[in-house]
């Protein structure tokens, strides 16, 4: 089962520079574990200490932010594209 995963510039050091990698899993959570097994350390950039999706990392299944779909429980399947984009944010403090 191949799910296409699009990797932002800042995380490409985990994937040997690759912009797109493949992964497998039936939920987003499983997919992230699978990615971390192949690209050690990437899991920590996506999940916080409580194994939840980090607040300022956006993950999309096809065209939708997974926060609106089911978070880590979002089902994924062959043919889906999962895109990771670090949130663009900041403030005066």
């Amino acid at each position: 089962m191949a799910i296409e995963v699009r990797i932002p510039t800042i995380l490409r050091n985990y994937t040997g520079g690759a912009k797109v990698v493949e992964g497998s899993g039936s939920t987003l959570g499983e997919l992230i574990k699978n990615l971390d097994a192949a690209h050690a350390g990437i899991g920590d950039r996506l999940l916080d200490g409580e194994e939840k999706l980090r607040r300022f990392v956006n993950v999309y299944k096809n065209d939708e932010d997974v926060r609106f779909l089911g978070g880590l429980e979002t089902p994924v399947a062959d043919g889906d594209t999962v895109t990771v984009l670090p949130a663009v944010a900041g403030g005066s403090r």
Binding site: E64, L85, A89, G91, S92
Partner: protein
Amino acid sequence: MLTISRELVDKIIAHARKDHPDEACGVIAGPVGGDRPERFIPMENAARSPTFYEFDSQEQLRVWREMDDRDEEPVVIYHSHTMTEAYPSRTDVSYANEPNAHYVLVSTRQEDTEEFRSYRILDGSVSEEPVDIVE
């Protein structure tokens, strides 16, 4: 060094003034590897706050995909501070995740100046750079 047209500088400033007292934010895209800001893309501040900004996640996906389709990258990521100086704050530094971008800051705390300044932010470290405004 950031090289940018006067027209784009004026657009950033106009956006910041318009959104004051909320922080304004946006991107200027340019061809990958060219380091030339060309296409002005003002973004919605989903936080709508005078002290915080965040791109709406769906809008960000649309814009990032569009840049990818056009072989562009974000050359400038800009935002405004409304009460403090145009210098990256701790949160600005924590969330600076586009390693090739010039981070531009303006401030709308005074009426007669915007303190237009530009920075590189890499691995948690800020360095200010000169700005060359091309008329």
